[in-house]
């Protein structure tokens, strides 16, 4: 994936006041929500509203995904038919439990892209893992489609499916988080963490976002704009890490020009994965430098 997405802000799909402000909340990505945030009576209104905004709003640099209703609902196909022709960056597909769930979405999206005359593969899939069955199939799901860009953990539904409660320390989700990240990375995809639901508990959010970053999640979902700077802070690389990444990249360039494959920095051997990690860290740190210059809100 090209863009670094530390935050994915859920936006209720039937709330024009929220949708129209998507470019200014400061999130790296938004997920326009047609699923849980919209009552059954308002599915049609939300679908039309989201479609209209996809058509007309300049989302600026914000990555735009749409969480559609699940494949097992009567709204799934209608959502895809309305949204895909507008070419959002991705669709979040809820409750993926098998490769068939992704392949079914893939087939419909491909046909709709063809009809709309947009290049095949434009609209990516973010598969939501939010059931025990889905968790067990996470790697299969992650490798089921080239269009699949990321796995996202849906913590609330997963806890309900497991019959357990959310706790502040989040130990109950440790296995699921680790499993989702490992499955996604094994398939060379990204993983996104679930939401932190207590809007008033900033410290809890920060700790959980830090844990998500440490475990390897590319970013975390947010349910309120106030959560965005907290998550960004949790993902902020330490200055010492950034300085070391710069030294690694400088040494890598020197080694390449001298035809050397392996070299050391600060007494530690550096190879391709370390260089890749350093490159990612520098790209991540640029987001904060841009923010300081006022180019981006974070």
């Amino acid at each position: 994936m090209g863009k670094i997405l530390r935050t994915v802000l859920y936006i209720p799909g039937n709330s024009p006041g929220m949708i129209q402000h998507c470019p200014v909340f400061g999130a790296d990505a938004v997920a326009l929500d047609l699923e849980d945030a919209v009552s059954i009576r308002e599915k049609d209104a939300a679908r039309r509203l989201v479609t209209a905004f996809l058509d007309s709003l300049d989302f600026s640099r914000v990555y735009v995904s749409v969480r559609v209703n699940g494949a097992q609902t009567p709204y799934f196909k209608k959502d895809l038919e309305a949204v895909v022709p507008k070419g959002p960056d991705a669709l979040r597909i809820p409750k993926c439990e098998s490769t068939d769930d992704v392949k079914r979405a893939e087939e419909i999206i491909s046909a709709l892209e063809d009809e709309a005359g947009i290049p095949k593969g434009t609209v990516k899939i973010h598969a939501m893992i939010e059931t025990a069955r889905g968790l067990e199939k996470a790697y299969d799901i992650a490798t089921s489609s080239k269009r699949l860009e990321a796995l996202t953990l849906g913590g609330q539904d997963l806890l309900a499916d497991l019959g357990i409660q959310k706790t502040p320390h989040g130990r109950e989700l440790l296995y699921a988080r680790s499993r989702v990240v490992t499955a996604a990375r094994a398939a060379e995809k990204q993983a996104f963490d679930t939401v932190w639901t207590d809007i008033n508990d900033i410290n809890g959010l920060f700790e959980e976002a830090r844990l998500a970053a440490e475990l390897g999640f590319a970013g975390k979902a947010a349910i309120h704009p106030s959560q965005i700077p907290v998550i960004h802070e949790a993902y902020k690389p330490h200055p010492a890490e950034v300085a070391r990444a710069r030294r690694i990249m400088a040494s890598a360039q020197k080694a390449e020009s001298e035809g050397r494959g392996v070299f050391s920095v600060d007494g530690r051997m550096v190879d391709a994965p370390v260089i890749e990690r350093a490159r990612h860290l520098l790209r991540l740190s640029e987001l904060y430098e841009n923010s300081n210059r006022g180019d981006e809100t974070s």
């Binding site: 024009p16 006041g17 129209q20 209104a45 039309r48 509203l49 209209a52 905004f53």
Partner: protein
Amino acid sequence: MSKNTPFKSRTAQCGTLESSDCLVTISESETSHIDYRGANAGIFRKRTEAIVKELLDESDLTSVAVSIQDNGALEVTIRARIETAIERFLQGR
């Protein structure tokens, strides 16, 4: 209609009264008319009435009354709300 049967006019609604939204109500009526209200109604009346007429014409709807309470909705929102209200009206919802 018998004396004892209450007249039930077909009505459909879409939208909310929240800020940046509008509430659109479409009802059966002997004569077509548009009732557009809101803080900016004076500024946007012509534009909004033109949108309503355009969308009613597209759906071949003639004898209806359209009421819009506009609480600062963008044009894209007004269009989407009217379109959904028309769709609901035609579906009898």
